[in-house]
Amino acid sequence: MKLALGTAAFLLMAHPAGANSYEEHDYILNCSGCHRADGSGSKVVPPLQAMPELSGKPGAREYWVQVPGAAQAPLSNARLAALMNWLVQRFAGKRPKPAYSAQEVGRLRTNPLRDPIGRRNEIRRTSSH
């Protein structure tokens, strides 16, 4: 009996799991190639686990959408806003307040960063409010 149940469970788990949400699907396709599935990045790509360092600091919320990978992703404003809400919750530990809206994201991505790494260091040096 146990063996039969175990086999059934194994067969269920052996089937490739589906992306649970459009946010996860969009993360895998648009972010995880460079930031990796777990967000750990590589020697040339910053880890998403470093997001709490900027969390709460002035400019961080805007910066996260303005980084080239997010701003230039081939996603609609609404899909990018949903993805960012999901991503900030996952890697910075809390949902952005207020949540990103399509309008806000649309405004931010038309205003690209000239020096993303420089801007990041600038935000990190400021104290949070």
Partner: protein
């Protein structure tokens, strides 16, 4: 659980009382032979003829050494399955690049889309066998993280490109391009 156990026990004891061993053996043998003979029936054979495998070739299994294999729909490079590795593993002596380009492909056997990660294998000179360049859903170079013309070995220890794999990450929510 114990109710199920009790039910099975009851059934087993009952059949042990009522059915002789020879009867059981003859029936079991019939099922075995009948099951094996089923695919020989003309109906089953006709159905088999129309089975189209994963890469459009006849038969159930696709062939990962062919460019037409369904997972290769957005690949650009040498197939690792022709280079001493497989479509999910690098050949000996090479390292799989941690950064990669990711796309979606439809598995024609079930009509579902899957997210495929085209991790490059790096560290030995290029393989040169089974060149495959299909690029479905690939983005132009200015969307570099959705482009397969760049050398994704940039994230590996050695940047020499050898061949490409096609690993299923998950079932996709939708096919590329996004709506």
């Amino acid at each position: 659980m114990s109710r199920l156990d009790r039910w099975f026990e009851g059934m087993t004891r009952q059949s042990a009382r009522r059915v002789s061993r020879r009867n059981w053996l003859s029936r079991f043998g019939g099922v075995l032979v009948g099951g094996a003979a089923l695919p020989l029936l003309p109906v089953a054979r006709a159905a088999e003829k129309h089975t189209v495998g994963e890469d459009g070739v006849k038969g159930r299994e696709g062939d990962p050494t062919r460019c037409e294999y369904w997972r290769h729909c957005a690949i650009d490079g040498f197939l690792c399955s022709c280079c001493g590795g497989s479509h999910t593993a690098c050949p000996p002596g090479t390292q799989m690049s941690p950064v990669t380009w990711i796309g979606t492909c439809r598995n024609p056997a079930e009509g579902k889309d899957y997210i495929i990660s085209y991790n490059d294998c790096c560290g030995k000179t290029f393989c040169g066998r089974c060149m495959c360049n299909r690029n479905e859903g690939e983005r132009p170079l200015y969307h570099w993280y959705r482009n397969n013309d760049i050398n994704w070995c940039g994230g590996a220890k050695a940047q020499t490109y050898s061949c490409s794999t096609a690993v299923v990450v998950k079932a996709a929510k939708e096919a590329q391009p996004e709506k």
